[in-house]
């Protein structure tokens, strides 16, 4: 075994962890299924930089810090394997299996920092399965990687900073945005005012937020959206919507949905560590201590995969987890541990305090929480809300029962797209303090794998 720590994910959290590890003389192996480091926020930033430079331009200032982070990561003596999809992690995290260029590898791990990040909260709407409907983050990812905005007439729909950011980025790239339908309304801002003082401690965050809210592109806007359905035969043709101010129809070729992001808990659940329901962010997340350590020793979860706090916090939590591991290995003294950790732990507290404001302003409206009728909830197995409601009425209790009765969550995405909505459907009091049932067990492989790849797995001891 020649790695002190295996890091899964090369986003801000994973990269910061690796840089910290290498500065303390720890050997880190970093695995990410993407072709380059950066994670979601700094996706394809090296390529973008090269394209822009060839055109005589530079990166926007807000992206420069990502390029700097990647540079420090690449220059550290970390071993980075790109295009490596982790498809299994053993209970407690001592063994990791990943697929790399069609071959499977299984490696032992003394310590693990899982930094898999977040994904956008799926909120099933009628017609959301049609080609032409994507998440807003997907449109952003496409712009980052290919340099092209989504084609045709675009409607952005939902809530959250990333929705507004994407609207702005698409407009700047010359996309034809024909509507920005936001669930957010005056009531949300009112409800959030008690959280303003805490957020004032994160001045930059607040400034960025205000910029997002005030510098939206000049496109038709709807606020206090309560309902929407997407129309089309083989692809998107338009959106029907209802808001507190009235209803309408917008003809369009693409609909970009966004309702905030939630932690990607596949790996932490596979590893069998404790999880808890986060009422403020309405999601499950692994339980971690002040060092990002889960209920399994030396298995850390850093970044948005452990709870949504954004990229700055992701870097801090990535570094913290390495400090803990290094201390256990005797690489740093008690004294330097506390000295190095204190500012990071303070920073995390400050960012977490600001988060309450964002989470309260941008939350999925009650009217979209529970899908109904023909809305496809499980996209993989094409299970509708009506089918789930019927199974629930006939006495299915818990997600496992629902699964057996309707096949909801049995497809290749491993219930990542449907479990939140299915959970809300069987927990009617979810907004009044009723705890939803724990998500169904995750089983390996969490990535598509052929039997051949499984049989030929290379085991390194």
């Amino acid at each position: 075994m020649n790695n002190d720590v295996v890091v899964i994910g090369a986003g801000p959290a994973g990269m910061a962890a690796a840089i910290q590890a290498s500065s303390l003389g720890l050997k880190a192996l970093v695995l990410d299924e993407q072709p380059a480091p950066g994670g979601q926020r700094f996706r394809a930033i090296e390529q973008r930089y090269r394209r822009l430079r060839a055109a005589g331009k530079g990166l926007p200032a807000s992206e420069q810090k990502g390029l700097d982070l990647i540079r420090r990561f690449r220059e550290s003596d970390t071993r980075f394997v790109d295009q490596a999809s982790v498809w299994d992690i053993s209970p407690g995290g001592r063994q990791i299996s990943y697929l790399h260029h069609g071959r499977s590898f299984t490696i032992p791990a003394n310590a693990v920092v899982a930094a898999p990040g977040a994904y956008e909260r799926p909120v099933p709407l009628e017609g959301w399965h049609l080609p032409g409907v994507m998440s807003a983050g997907a449109a952003q990812t496409m712009l980052k990687m290919s340099g092209h905005p989504v084609k045709g007439r675009i409607v952005l729909l939902g809530c959250g900073p990333l929705l507004l950011l994407t609207a702005r980025q698409l407009s700047n790239a010359g996309a034809n945005v024909v509507g920005l339908l936001q669930t957010t309304g005056p009531a949300d801002f009112l409800r959030a005012t008690p959280y303003l003082p805490a957020a004032l401690r994160s001045a930059t965050l607040l400034k960025q937020g205000l910029q997002l809210l005030t510098q939206t592109p000049l496109v038709p806007k709807v606020f206090s959206l309560t309902q929407a359905s997407i129309i089309g035969a083989d692809h998107v043709e338009g959106v029907n919507y209802r808001s507190r101010g009235g209803s309408g129809f917008i003809e369009c070729d693409a609909v970009l949905l966004h309702f905030g992001v939630i932690p990607n808990t596949q790996l932490s659940r596979l590893a069998g560590v404790a999880h808890d329901w986060n009422e403020q962010q309405e999601c499950w997340q692994p339980v971690v201590d002040a060092w990002q350590e889960t209920s399994a020793e030396n298995l850390m979860v850093a970044g948005d995969g452990g709870g949504i706090l954004g990229d700055e916090a992701a870097e801090m939590s990535g570094r913290l987890s390495i400090l803990r591991i290094a201390h256990r290995l005797g690489r740093i003294s008690d004294q330097s541990l506390s000295k190095l950790a204190a500012p990071l732990q303070r920073g995390l507290k400050r960012l977490a305090a600001a988060r309450a404001l964002i989470d309260t302003i941008f939350h999925t409206p009650e009217t979209m929480l529970i899908p109904s009728g023909d809305t496809v909830v499980c996209r993989c197995e094409e299970v509708t809300a009506a089918e789930i409601a019927a199974a629930n009425a006939s006495g299915a209790s818990g997600l496992r029962h629902l699964k057996v009765q309707t096949r909801v969550g049995m497809g290749p995405c491993r219930a990542q797209m449907c479990s939140m909505a299915a959970m809300a459907m069987i927990t009617p009091g979810i907004r009044c303090g009723q705890r939803p049932p724990p998500p169904a067990t995750v089983r390996a492989p969490i990535r598509p794998l052929t039997i051949g790849q499984l049989a030929e797995a290379d085991v390194e001891i």
């Binding site: 930089y49 090269r50 399965h129 994507m134 983050g137 990607n264």
Partner: protein
Amino acid sequence: MRPPHDLPEPPHQVSFRFGDEEIEAWEGETVATALLASGVMITGVRAMSGRSRGPYCLIGVCHECLVEIDGLANQRACITTVRQNMKVCRQTRLRPLTGEDETREQ
């Protein structure tokens, strides 16, 4: 190894086949982003309902972008990096667990 962002030249363009079409892409981008940028929205058809499907999340989560690449089924187009001359096909069904080169997923 020199980090890619320090390379002096701009990224290269590559091309691959999607069915009968020739698709242009940047080296280092994924099959899904290149397809979408070329205006291809539909990457698969659901066997049971006959409904068309296209990429949704582009970060490897939803598995809506499964395509056949160089003969291998169930590849996520949004995670697979483009290679010159690769052959990509629409996938019309989820492959059952029956053979050597077929997936365990179903």
